[in-house]
């Protein structure tokens, strides 16, 4: 596209600070003839406190008109748990059918890992984003009494599973190692597990070049800690994906570097790009948050919109920056350093 019409949701805590660096990098990497238009949306804790609103329909509709969304972080301890997560973040993922929640993990040289021996880490998790235990289908009976019963229902459809599994096979097929691992818990969650496993096996037959593997989610956490090099592409459900991508981030440079894309591959709706980390209210406003995860999310955004060279340029700049990173840098200094590299 020769123009990008971007919605920006800075959000809460460190969100505005990291988003501002992400936008700086975005503007400076784009070719001169690509016009960047941004529109900011005031959504998150502040808005909720002021108006009681999380995401009014009119704004959801407005957001839907953009080509992509860049989101900083949502959430604050002053808001009851779940209100913004479900009323805003998950509402966007579900409304815009972000069924591919893409979370790459790569251990860049010179970055932190708790793992001894610095294993080679370079895999990507394709987390389902619109189903599973995240659908909000639960309830509570006799709430607050000794007779309370609370339920949470995981919903899984052939429609929803096949589209994300197919996307994961496509991604695996396009990578040099061509290896795809399904992570589930099909020895306990037998109904959902069977749907996932049979879909995986069936679609796999269309991709003879891709080697496949299955791991229970508990075993997957063991390998993420002891042998992350074994992974190339992982496909998994919404909740398991949430859990293992935080662990994946922890072992590959920390949550400050983990980028993500909430992608609707059909482009019927805007895809949304955000760092995996939260709003970190304890350091908000101190100009110390690491904007790298947001900057890498901008790279995913560019790739999604067809600007592959620019996406690669950002990733190379980040790798080079991390390779000689000094500690104690400010949010803006890190942004400036990446800008300098992508503009060079």
């Amino acid at each position: 596209a020769r123009s990008i019409n971007l919605a920006v949701i800075p959000g809460d805590g460190i969100g505005p600070e990291v988003v501002s660096e992400g936008l700086k990098v975005l503007s400076s990497v784009l070719p001169q003839d690509v016009k960047l238009e941004t529109e900011e949306y005031d959504l998150g804790a502040r808005r909720w406190h002021a108006t009681g609103e999380t995401l009014p329909d009119a704004e959801l509709e407005q957001l839907g008109k953009h080509e992509a969304i860049l989101l900083g972080a949502i959430g604050d301890p002053s808001v009851p748990s779940g209100v913004l997560e479900r009323g805003l973040l998950l509402k966007l993922r579900f409304a815009f059918e972000h069924y591919v929640n893409l979370r790459p993990s790569r251990l860049f040289p010179n970055t932190e890992t708790p793992l001894a021996g610095r294993p080679e880490i370079d895999f990507v998790v394709v987390r389902e984003g619109t189903e599973g235990p995240y659908v909000g289908n639960g309830g509570s009976l006799r709430t607050g009494t000794p007779a309370e019963v609370a339920t949470e229902v995981s919903l899984n459809t052939a429609y929803g599973v096949q589209r994300v599994v197919r996307d994961a096979f496509e991604r695996a097929n396009a990578r040099p190692r061509k290896k795809l691992t399904l992570v589930h818990k099909n020895n306990v969650l037998v109904y959902a597990g069977q749907l996932w496993k049979e879909t995986f096996d069936r679609i796999g037959q269309e991709y003879p070049a891709v080697s496949t593997d299955y791991l229970h989610v508990d075993a997957a956490t063991i390998f993420l800690a002891t042998d992350p090099a074994r992974f190339d592409v992982i496909v998994t459900d919404n909740l398991f994906g949430d859990i293992i991508t935080d662990l994946a981030a922890a072992v590959s440079g920390g949550i400050g570097l983990a980028a993500s894309g909430n992608i609707n591959p059909s482009r019927d709706f805007p895809s949304m790009f955000e760092p995996v980390h939260g709003s970190a209210p304890d350091i908000a406003g101190t100009n110390t948050a690491d904007p790298t995860a947001t900057i890498l999310s901008v790279a995913l955004l560019l790739r999604h919109l067809g600007h592959e060279p620019e996406a690669a340029r950002i990733e190379e700049a980040v790798a080079a920056d991390l390779a000689e990173r000094h500690t104690g840098r400010t949010t803006r200094e890190t942004g400036d350093a990446i800008v300098a590299r992508v503009s060079a």
Copy 2:
């Protein structure tokens, strides 16, 4: 008790080999005047192939008459996923109300950890064992068609949550650090999450000496990899407990050392002790499996039955053995080494 009437389920794969070492250690640590009676139950893959049975009612009833159960490992690739897990292992946990699934993690000197810097690890996970997504309440509609819908329901009751949370507070209160962390995902699973969180907060008021903490399960995996020393006691639901205890085992010596107890504190039913690892069919019968996790499970069994000095003796023997362990030892050699230490 001056006698122990123990049911033994060796199970599949390496199960019989490791159980046999566990029993050797058990016999040699018991005071002369404590009589040990064991009865073996042939349950698992072999039995299922031979008879189609997983756990007939008559045997369940028989098992219920023992004071405790020692289990090796259940499962084999030749059996469809879920059959033995749900028909045998989970059936036992549910039938005998094993609501405290106790999983200690301790990094013994000289053992393996993937973590750089060998952090101090000494915590215990109290995993709920009779509810959550493990209840088997799910289904599939239009199975195998493009219109399939599959569900899994997590059931949580005030009755079930309060008893395990209370047990965890008791355990935390009895430890020097007196710290209890609740792990859940209450920003997404809001109904179950609220039941867990409010129960935790309410019961916590009865334990003013215990300091408390809450972590989302995704964040908990980060800390298990980057700062496991922060944990003392963790209480969590059945599925989250399954996931984080495998990760906990991975960072604290490996799955070959992880012991567990499926405990019914009321003693209305026998509690069951088992290594966290699986049946490892690839090395079955080779006399190479590490029996340490089973031997440590025997220590948990003895503690549960009131034989604290003997439990402690096993744990000291294991620690001493690990401290000077040579590689390449056989299953029996490891068992013999522990026997030598506890009898010395």
